[in-house]
Amino acid sequence: MSVNYEQSFNGPMIQFDNVVKRFGQLTVLEDLNFDVAPGEFVTLIGPSGSGKTTILRLLMTLEKLTEGTIYVGGEPLSHLHKDDKLVEANEKHLREARKKIGMVFQQFNLFPNMKVLRNITEAPVRSLGRSRDEAEKRGSELLEMVGLSDKVDAHPSQLSGGQQQRVAIARALAMEPKVLLLDEVTSALDPELVTGVLHLLKEIAETTDITFLCVTHEMQFARDVSDRVMMFDSGHVIEDAHPDKLFTDPDPDPDPDHERTREFLHAVLDRG
């Protein structure tokens, strides 16, 4: 998938600027800087507890930054410009900012009190101000795309994990996000259901110009769809490369960071 230069904004779609995140005493992210270009598919890998989920949650404004700034589409995400300074954003600004970002969760988090189609139409109706008819028409199309046309009137509890996750993907797409965040979206699925969901994501990545930030342990998938893979450890980016290079680089490299990446990949790939 190539970078899409036709967008009106031609800076990075996502920019982390000296981002620090602490939970009490624990520093999870320390002076983190990285960019993601519009339309790029970036995969985050790294050991457990290295802060991958935290990065996605910061982008979704589910967590508050400790220091630094995140820009999405050139706009500060959780800050407001005020007299040349950045101040913490109010709910109104956050609601505007969240329009650009969608997220698919590890545990699906569908609303059990709503039928499948209703789950998908909530965001367009309540956040984008679409009419219900319009939202339902689009919702049915999305359901068809994820292969669940027959489940329009089902309740989430009547679906398998893989089906629920596909509904969750359709739900996130329905809000027409510029950025889509995927946090281990296949980890809660039975092995035989994983491939279907990954196929779907690959198709979406290839046919839309959505910017993806994805955390996954599916290395083959990461390799297939990513434009870039970033390896994290203890809150730092220790590798940032094209997947082919990162996964296959045969050169013995004296760099200790690279050594850590290799160890990590060995561990992950052996397990898989």
Binding site: M60, F111, R126
Partner: protein, 218 residues
């Protein structure tokens, strides 16, 4: 002392009239407790300034004083002091409803807290407005779960309404007392009053148990 069957059939209409009053108070008091309890729970949860602290203190106060004392203070002290002519019946509904609202608010609070964090996060990720998160996602999931607990409080309330005899409400117990005083058939009157309570609260608790098992499958 013998059991007088005549007194049973003789007192029945009077006791039935009393039972209707008791049930009216229970139903109206429950409605008040359900609605006000939810309002209390939302004020606490949303940390509405000032009201939050006020509700906290009020709930703690009500929960630590006996209902009877509240009934007395409201009817004999508060109500005359304000000068509003509220009938004993209405006073009973208000005091019992408000009293139980302080308990149902805890039920709602627990019901809201039982909603998994992921539901809040998904709602945020979908950029739903605050009001819609509550009305579309959180309350529709928490309210059905708390229905059995609310039902249990209604049963408790039903069994506590005879306290309102203290302010002269013409409830079931008061009618039994009245009948006993007039005819000296005290045994029959009070025993029948007890039987009415037993039958209704037993049937109601069976219903609540069925609700519980249905909610358990949610």
């Amino acid at each position: 002392m013998v059991w007088d069957r005549g007194a049973v059939s003789d007192s029945f209409p009077l006791l039935l009239a009393g039972l209707v009053v008791t049930l009216e108070i229970t139903v109206l008091g429950s409605l008040l407790a359900y609605v006000l309890g939810l309002v209390f729970a939302l004020i606490r949860r949303l940390r509405v300034p000032v009201l939050n602290q006020a509700v906290y203190l009020f709930v703690e106060f009500i929960r630590s004083t006996p209902l009877l004392v509240q009934v007395f203070v409201f009817f004999w002290v508060l109500q005359p002091a304000v000068g509003l002519p509220i009938s004993a019946f209405a006073s009973g509904v208000i005091v019992i409803g408000v009293h139980y609202a302080c308990y149902t608010s805890e039920v709602y609070r627990a019901g809201i807290e039982a909603i998994p964090q992921g539901q809040w996060e998904a709602a945020t990720a979908l950029n739903l407005p605050r009001t819609r998160v509550w009305s579309g996602v959180i309350l529709p999931q928490s309210v059905p779960r708390v229905v059995p607990a609310l039902g249990n409080y209604t049963i408790s309330m039903f069994k506590e309404t005879p306290l309102l005899l203290a302010i002269g409400v013409q409830d079931l117990l008061n009618r039994a007392k009245e009948y006993g005083a007039e005819t000296f058939s005290v045994t029959e009157a009070y025993t029948m009053a007890g039987a009415f309570f037993l039958v209704i609260s037993y049937v109601a608790s069976l219903l609540v148990r069925r609700l519980e098992s249905r909610v358990g499958q949610l």
